[in-house]
């Protein structure tokens, strides 16, 4: 009797927990499903047909968004920016972190703490000055200017993360490399970077997410539609199609699906990165 009672309570408990978790999971997924669903409807059926699965699938919206909505250009731009910015961040911050960790030069600590302090200042506190600076340098409305700014946004966090890894790198490894004839750059390339591979994974993933979803600087710095990344482009697109919901949803789907795919492929690293506490600072 007693065992049965416990088994019963255990079952009820786990069912309740599953109901709770499932309802939240559905709340998470449903709006995204609704977006995809509406993307397959026409401008007339979307107002009439409220069934879960539409009766007629219409693929034309994606074609409209892709060609008329300029999405081909926006997507390409987003890819260019993400690749350039993330490469730049990994390159610069690993070199900087290596020198903060292993080299001795005057003012090392002061410069390092300046970098850490820069991390504390949020972007909204600095973008006005950044915009003025970029105007003075004639870098507004250029790809290069935007990439530089975005590298700057991600730099301090990455330096901090790389430095914690390089600090843990055993001195013997470095000595061995030196005896084998490696210079400082050689040690950085052959020893330090491979050693910090987990850090690189975290930095690449989180900075890619940031750059892909960035909006404020893209609005300020890029006025030319041919230079705009996806997020900025959607806003232009939304302005032009504010009543044509299916086409708008098709555009949103095209913006959302790549990032969800990348997330699903990388989710193990993302969870590890968040859990390790190093991203939290």
């Amino acid at each position: 009797m007693k065992i049965n009672k416990y088994a019963f309570w255990g079952m009820t408990q786990s069912t309740l927990i599953h109901i709770f978790l499932m309802s939240v999971a559905l709340t998470c997924l449903f709006p995204i499903f609704w977006m995809v669903r509406c993307a397959f409807m026409t401008n007339t059926t979307v107002f009439v047909d409220q069934s879960i699965i539409p009766h007629h699938l219409n693929f034309g919206n994606f074609a409209i968004a892709w060609t008329k909505g300029n999405f081909a250009v926006y997507l390409l731009n987003s890819v260019i920016y993400t690749v350039c910015v993330v490469t730049g961040i990994v390159f610069i911050s690993s070199l900087a972190a290596y020198s903060f960790s292993r080299l001795n030069f005057p003012g090392k600590n002061i410069i390092f703490y300046l970098f850490v302090a820069a991390m504390m200042i949020p972007l909204p506190g600095s973008f006005v000055a950044l915009f003025v600076l970029m105007t003075k340098l004639h870098l507004v409305n250029t790809r290069f200017g935007y990439i530089l700014c975005m590298i700057n946004v991600g730099l301090s966090m990455s330096i901090l993360l790389f430095k914690t890894f390089f600090d843990k790198m055993p001195q013997e490894l470095e000595d061995a490399a030196r005896i084998d004839g490696c210079g400082k750059i050689g040690i950085w390339w052959n020893m330090a970077l491979p050693f910090a591979r987990p850090a690189i994974a975290v930095i690449v993933i989180f900075n890619s997410l940031t750059v892909w979803n960035e909006y404020i600087l893209a609005t300020l710095l890029l006025g030319d539609t041919n230079l705009m990344p996806l997020q900025r482009g959607i806003m232009v697109f939304q302005g032009a199609n504010s009543t044509d919901y299916p086409v708008l949803m098709a555009g949103l789907t095209m913006a959302a699906i790549p990032i969800i795919m990348v997330y699903l492929a990388m989710q193990k690293h993302i969870v590890k990165g968040l859990s390790s506490g190093e991203v939290m600072g």
């Binding site: 973008f127 006005v128 997020q231 959607i234 708008l248 949803m249 969870v271 506490g277």
Partner: protein
């Protein structure tokens, strides 16, 4: 260009719209702290056991945070659409409310100044709880299972175990999540742009939109800079204070 001393700051102190916008951001933050974080904690507690489909939940709860605020805002804007066409509500929420027998609940959620900010705050929480969930779950999994067993042997019930073992052990993680929530929510901007797009300027303004409009609509860069400095200083202070608190919690 000429130097005008503290003129901009003086004007800013008396700018009601600016302090209103500060309060709006604070309200969004408050909703997130009160609803989003406890929900994330409850979900993490529910997942912190041998349970089927744990991986599925963990993956799904983090999907909204990887989407951009713009995409999230526009999806919800469409779901909350208040318009009618051919006698039917075209927004999903109003349609559901109408057809499931609550026609008096049908509402222009984003058009009404009374509900707009709360609606935005809820959508913001919908998007944000995944972060908290992942961090809470990671924190819960580091708690030594022996502590729970010891508590059980000492005769502590589920609630006692929760308040005397789980909460104290989780305090550092909770503080980190709280500080990240505050910093994140105070800076919400794109979500608001996507959901109301300056339709209700003075009811849903947040500091970042004020800074933007000072820059772009009136071209007052000095004033925008003053706003940005004040806003940045407040955020730095908040993170500094919470950092001190969490250091103390870690020592204890």
């Amino acid at each position: 260009m000429h130097f005008i001393g503290l003129q901009n700051y003086k004007e800013l102190l008396g700018d009601k719209l600016w302090w209103d916008s500060m309060w709006h951001a604070g309200y969004i933050t408050l909703i997130a702290l009160v609803f989003q974080n406890p929900l994330a904690f409850a979900l993490a507690l529910a997942c912190d056991r041998e349970i089927r489909m744990k991986r599925f939940y963990r993956v799904v709860f983090f999907i909204p945070p990887v989407l951009s605020q713009l995409v999230v805002g526009l999806i919800w804007n469409w779901i909350l659409n208040p318009e009618m066409q051919n006698g039917q509500y075209i927004g999903l929420l109003n349609h559901l409310l109408y057809s499931s027998g609550f026609p008096q609940m049908v509402h222009g959620w984003l058009g009404d100044p009374k509900t707009a900010l709360t609606t935005i705050a809820i959508v913001n929480s919908w998007q944000g709880f995944g972060w908290g969930f992942i961090m809470f779950l990671a924190g819960l999994q580091t708690i030594d299972k022996q502590l729970y067993e010891a508590a059980k042997i000492d005769g502590a019930g589920a609630w006692k175990t929760f308040t005397n073992v789980t909460i104290p052990m989780m305090l550092p993680v909770i503080l980190v999540v709280v500080i990240l929530t505050i910093l994140g929510c105070m800076q919400v901007f794109v979500l608001i742009l996507a959901m109301v797009n300056e339709g209700l300027v003075n009811h849903t303004d947040v500091p970042v939109t004020r800074i933007f409009s000072a820059m772009q609509n009136t071209n007052r860069f000095g004033y925008a800079c003053a706003e940005a400095v004040i806003f940045g200083t407040i955020l730095v202070c908040v993170s500094f204070v919470t950092k001190r608190l969490s250091d103390k919690a870690k020592q204890a």
